[in-house]
């Protein structure tokens, strides 16, 4: 949560401020001490900020977070000169992927005007060393030629080494401890290892299955997609056979993208080893590639 710049001051040097003439307690406003040590921060890939990807080419974008301060990653944005790519987000030090398969960049990369907000921040505790975050980008989206890609995580930096020790400890207590939950992206199991879906024939029907693995629950909050044509869909909980809608819904009414996501009215908890079935019918009358992504918070509390 952003820290307000101001705070109420009730004591000076441990003593309450003198009472007001009418006997009521006195308060003052002051600058919140932590503000000096927290800055917005953009993370650029190194050594090159952008890479050129020909069709079918894959590259690894590396992001080094130096030991100056913790990085609280909150949003993602990017530029693509000639079409989207598939992205696989990886925390190298924790050996942790942030999705079950690569996801379409249109579903998770916003712009400066409307960046993609992670369902919850991802905290990189640098300790005394540097941390490394990686994004595997692959030009695997059908029909996309050579494209120049630049992807930028955005968040804030806690310069903990300059903070008073107690403040630094409080930051770790409040933020690092929540790493039992972190942002996670779920794509259907039916997609291939590159995250590319099977093509849906014109006017045809199919179903995709989102499945949560056995190690965590997913609190789903946003529905995101990219496709080559319109479609209708339903979502159904497999274990209960319960639909999340009364009838077919048009794709543009139920799915958004990184810049304008569809927010669920209440977060949907997809428990571990449970499945969510998406039944789809093409409306475009042409072959249709449907890249669907569910964004949520992966919780490992049990």
């Amino acid at each position: 949560m952003p820290f307000p710049a101001l705070e109420v001051i009730r004591k000076v040097a441990g003593e309450p401020l003198p009472e007001l003439p009418d006997g009521s307690p006195n308060i003052a406003m002051g600058i919140r001490p932590i503000k000096e040590f927290v800055k917005p921060y953009w993370l650029a890939s190194e050594p090159d900020v952008s890479v050129s990807l020909g069709a079918g080419v894959k590259a690894r974008l590396q992001y080094a977070i130096d030991s100056q301060g913790h990085f609280d990653w909150a949003a993602l944005m990017g530029t693509f000169s000639n079409g989207p790519v598939m992205l696989y987000l990886f925390d190298a030090n924790s050996n942790r992927f942030l999705s079950n398969k690569p996801v379409h960049s249109t579903t998770i990369c916003g712009s400066g005007q409307r960046y993609f907000r992670l369902p919850c921040p991802y905290f990189f505790n640098v300790g005394d060393s540097q941390r490394e975050f990686q994004i595997f980008a692959e030009n695997a989206v059908p029909g996309v030629g050579t494209t120049v890609v630049s992807i930028v995580p955005f968040g804030r930096r806690f310069y903990h080494k300059e903070m008073p020790p107690q403040m630094a400890a409080e930051i770790l207590r409040d933020y690092d401890c929540i790493m039992k939950e972190y942002p996670y992206l779920l794509v259907p199991e039916d997609y291939d290892f590159r995250g590319v879906p099977p093509v849906l024939a014109a006017n045809a029907k199919t179903q995709f299955e989102f499945e949560m693995d056995d190690s965590a629950d997913l609190e789903c909050s946003k529905l995101l997609f990219a496709s080559t044509g319109a479609f209708t869909f339903t979502l159904r909980e497999k274990d209960k056979d319960r639909l999340l809608m009364a009838d077919l819904v048009h794709s543009s009414e139920g799915w958004g993208n990184a810049e304008f996501p569809v927010y669920l009215m209440d977060s949907f908890l997809l428990q571990r080893k449970r499945q969510l079935i998406m039944e789809i019918t093409d409306l475009s009358g042409a072959p249709n590639y449907i890249f669907a992504t569910i964004a949520g918070i992966r919780s490992q509390y049990r």
């Binding site: 800055k39 921060y41 310069y159």
Partner: protein, 324 residues
């Protein structure tokens, strides 16, 4: 427990506004009373609480202020009549809590707001309309509402506008906010309103523009593929908390931001303008408000990416914290 990001990105803005303004709920709970003003008790002896309309709501409405004299048409840049002074009058009927800026124009222009009542400028140099003037669909929200306490007289805010296009420019500019009709309100309601909007104390909205601009807010043209440094200078009067970054340019550019005193950069590489600057409609929200102390300077190093001349208007929006 920290708020989740989705809830929290504008929480700093909201906290500022809510702390000072508060949301006036349409209903409030209140103990029910009989004809003699005595509380009605339930069988267990506790007061029965009912829900009634908030008495403050009668005295508060949405309010829009166009300039006196209506829209203005400015001559092409460089000709006589390419600038004008717009005057927004807040009559003495009630306080005005200015929260948004909207407008329509046939081209770009620069603005310079002055509050004559407080002898206060709301920016260090004129700002480009594309960075602070939104539309009805996506209004530009001030980092903090600006309260005009009218007391027994009228208040006004003056906006000096200058056309920066080569053709005539018709400008309609409107200030949007809330009106508190204190004259209509009973004295106790007036006190309640005063408490809820923080009539006595506020920080205030402020726009920062680099010092390289001319007196009309127009920056030097950046040559194709050229580089330049833009310097944002904080004056000696107040600390500033920056919340949003906006830019209007004739082409893409790359940038890096650095604090002079700490020599600290806000990124580990050079970034595309699309990844760090928004517009009035869709501003770029910083992940945490950026606290800049008085007399400090910020450097924004920019490089043109278009290969052609590039005019880049940069604006930072935040709050002035005049607390020490």
């Amino acid at each position: 427990m920290p708020l989740r990001w989705g809830e929290a990105v504008v929480a700093d803005l909201q906290s500022a506004q809510e702390a000072c303004v508060g949301h006036l709920a349409p209903f409030v709970s209140r103990p029910l009373v009989d004809a003699h003003g005595r509380e009605i008790l339930d069988p267990s002896g506790r007061p029965i609480v009912g829900v009634v309309p908030n008495p403050l709501k009668d005295s508060v409405t949405d309010f829009k202020i166009p300039p006196k004299g209506g829209p203005v048409t400015l001559a092409a840049q460089g000709s006589a009549g390419d600038e004008a002074e717009l005057e927004f009058i807040i009559d003495s009927q009630g306080d005005f809590d200015w929260t948004h800026i909207v407008g329509v124009s046939t081209g770009g222009y620069t603005l310079h707001f002055v509050d004559p009542g407080e002898q206060r400028r709301l920016q260090n140099f004129p700002v480009h309309s594309g960075t602070v003037v939104g539309t009805g669909r996506r209004m530009f929200k001030l980092p903090e509402p600006y309260l005009f306490n009218v007391e027994d007289k009228e208040r006004r805010i003056v906006c000096r506008v200058k056309n920066i296009t080569a053709s005539p420019n018709t400008i309609r500019l409107t200030l949007v906010g809330r009106r508190y009709y204190i004259r209509d309100a009973k004295p106790d309601i007036d006190v309640l309103i005063g408490d809820s909007i923080g009539r006595r104390w506020r920080t205030n909205t402020y726009f920062l523009v680099p010092k390289e601009v001319d007196k009309f807010g127009i920056p030097p043209t950046l040559a194709g593929n050229g580089s330049a440094r833009r310097t944002f200078v904080m004056d000696n009067d107040a600390d500033t908390s920056i919340m949003k970054l906006m830019a209007v340019s004739t082409g893409a550019f790359s940038f890096r931001i650095k604090e002079e005193d700490t020599n600290r950069e806000l990124s580990n590489g050079t970034l595309h303008s699309d990844n760090g600057w928004g517009t009035a409609d869709f501003p770029f929200f910083l992940s945490d408000s950026w606290f800049i102390e008085r007399n400090k300077r910020l450097f924004v190093d920019i490089t043109d990416l278009t290969g052609a001349n590039n005019v880049i208007y940069l604006t930072m929006a935040g709050r002035r914290l005049e607390l020490r």
